[in-house]
Amino acid sequence: MSEKSELLVIKDLDVRLFTERGTLPVLDHINLSLKPGEILGIVGESGCGKSMLASAIMGLIDAPLKITGGEIVFEGVNLVNASKKTLQNLRGSAISMIFQEPMTSLNPIMTCGQQIVEAILAHEKVSRKEAVARAMDMIKSVGIPMPEKVFRSVPSQLSGGMRQRIMIAMALSLRPKLLICDEPTTALDVTVQAQILYLIRKLKKELNTAVVFISHDMGVISQMSDRVAVMYAGQVVELSDKKDIFTTPAHPYAIGLQAAIPKMDGEAESLEAIPGSVPMLYDLPAGCLFSTRCERCSMKCKTEKPELVDINEDNPGHLVRCFIPAI
């Protein structure tokens, strides 16, 4: 696995929140990498820092938050200390993003078509006519019925699913190498979610875009990802191939997260809940961050911080941050 083949490498990334209670670790030593055409799923509960990670990659971290260490290398360029101009050029063209609520990221008074055209014109030197044609192609390719009508509609005239399709059309109109999806289907109904997930898979295949797919839903992650990172309280606690993480999860949190989901087969009298709640950032435990809720917690877990390490030498690539992983 040479670094040359990686599209995106995040190395020891630290993001801190500066408050009157002191400096809080929002993201702590994140190490992730992504190859071209790969989908990396990031799963975790609210407040685990998964959306913050998306903002960090997009260069959208702003005071009182700050990147205090590490690097985000995209095609050999370190985004952390890149100039504003470099970031602006990359954003939208080489890296683009889809948000949870498309309504807030679309301009409510511009027609959908216009917005895509403007996005193309902002990054590429093409004639307006060409841009319009490409925007129309894009709208057609995301499976919108009556594309001519939608092209001339403003976002509020469309349904949630259609808006998300427009967002995707806009994000992919410049054929980015990396697409970040931050909970793209959370606001949608399950049948529409199925359509959007299919669309992202299909377009990814056609364009060979690498995708960072963020979700709180283990089911969605399992359908979308090649590799999965489980996050807890600002750290990656488990990182591996999709197969490993869903068949042989090793971190107690990853196990608990799956046990808490109501199954669609078999019978269970009561769901297995994870005891306690996520620790506050200003009140993190001294040792392993999950030690307050972990049933296998030992003395060592309470005092020392585990590192993210490979747990199986025969099958490298299954990284777990735990002293006593389940194997």
Binding site: A273, P275, G276, S277, P279, D283
Partner: protein, 303 residues
């Protein structure tokens, strides 16, 4: 707050007594934020000082505000113990400025209290009941908002006659519309909250919803709008008194003092300067206090 620590178990028998929770009320938190705002704290200090002066006026100064002493007319500041000098009837200007606080502050505060009560009741009726009530009240809000403020105040004072009570009433009746409009909007959003539905489900009456649920949630807005309304009431009172429509003489009021000082503006500038300064300082203090309160009461800034 509680000293004894009970071990609490949740339904699955797990200890949940250690669940960390910070303890603070909404107004405590607001005060904590407010305290850090130096400008607002200074304004609050100035206002408290003015209220103190107004209440304890006879203790602060040895002069009678209304008693005329023609022998001591138009003295300069500092002469014969008159720190701000005297006016054309030989009355101590400092004393009259302090007694003027009584009029201005009480007009500002009481008229806004009246406006709060009318504004809240009107706004909540329009917002909560909707339909016809909303149509009628919204119409009146429109009407009251389109009347020129000072002209209407003058007309009312002509009709009611001058006097403190009438000042409270007319200014209160004039400024409720703004409060009502804001409260109506607030209630329309609050009405969608599920705790209102929960109260309905539990059989709660409209009265309970209006006073137990909506009022406590509207109080921050009432405080802010009406603190910011006080300066304009003070200014209107000063304007009315200047025109001779405010409090009847000889009661001291900043507006009537400036009116009296007009004739002497070239020879005795300080005479108009001091009541003017009182007006500016009090108006600015209330404005900055209102701004400070707006920041402190904003739930988004809590935590």
């Amino acid at each position: 707050m509680t000293k004894t620590k009970l071990i609490q178990l949740d339904t699955l028998g797990r200890n949940i007594s250690e669940t960390k929770i910070q303890h603070s009320g909404y107004y405590y938190e607001s005060f904590r934020i407010f305290r850090k705002n130096k400008v607002a704290m200074l304004s609050l200090f100035v206002i408290i000082l003015m209220i103190f002066l107004a209440v304890a006026a006879p203790l602060v100064t040895g002069f009678d505000p209304d008693k005329q002493k023609l022998a001591e007319r138009l003295l300069s500041p500092g002469v014969k113990g008159h720190i701000f000098g005297t006016d054309e009837f030989g009355r101590d200007i400092f004393t009259r400025c302090i007694y003027g606080c009584r009029v201005s502050l009480s007009v500002g505060i009481i008229s806004q209290l009246i406006a709060s009560v009318i504004g809240y009741l009107m706004g909540v009726t329009a917002g909560y009941f909707g339909k016809k009530a909303d149509d009628i009240i919204s119409f009146f809000i429109q009407v009251f908002s389109s009347i020129p403020f000072l002209l209407f105040a003058m007309a009312l004072m002509y009709a009611l006659g001058s006097g403190l009570m009438n000042l409270y009433l007319s200014l209160g009746l004039l400024s409720w519309a703004n409060t009502a409009r804001l409260i109506r909007g607030q209630v329309l959003t609050l009405k969608q909250q599920e705790y209102i539905q929960a109260c309905i489900v539990n059989g709660g009456s409209s009265r309970r919803i209006i006073f137990k649920h909506l009022l406590p949630n509207c109080i921050p807005m009432l405080i802010i709008t009406n603190t910011l309304g006080i300066p304009s009431a003070i200014l209107t009172e000063a304007s009315l008194s200047f025109l001779g429509l405010g409090v009847p003489s000889p009661t001291a009021s900043w507006g009537s003092m400036i009116s009296g000082a007009q004739t002497f503006i070239r020879t005795n500038t300080y005479y108009s300067l001091f009541p003017g300064l009182f007006i500016i300082v009090s108006v600015m203090a209330f404005n900055m206090l209102g701004d400070g309160l707006r920041d402190a009461l904003d739930p988004k800034l809590h935590k």
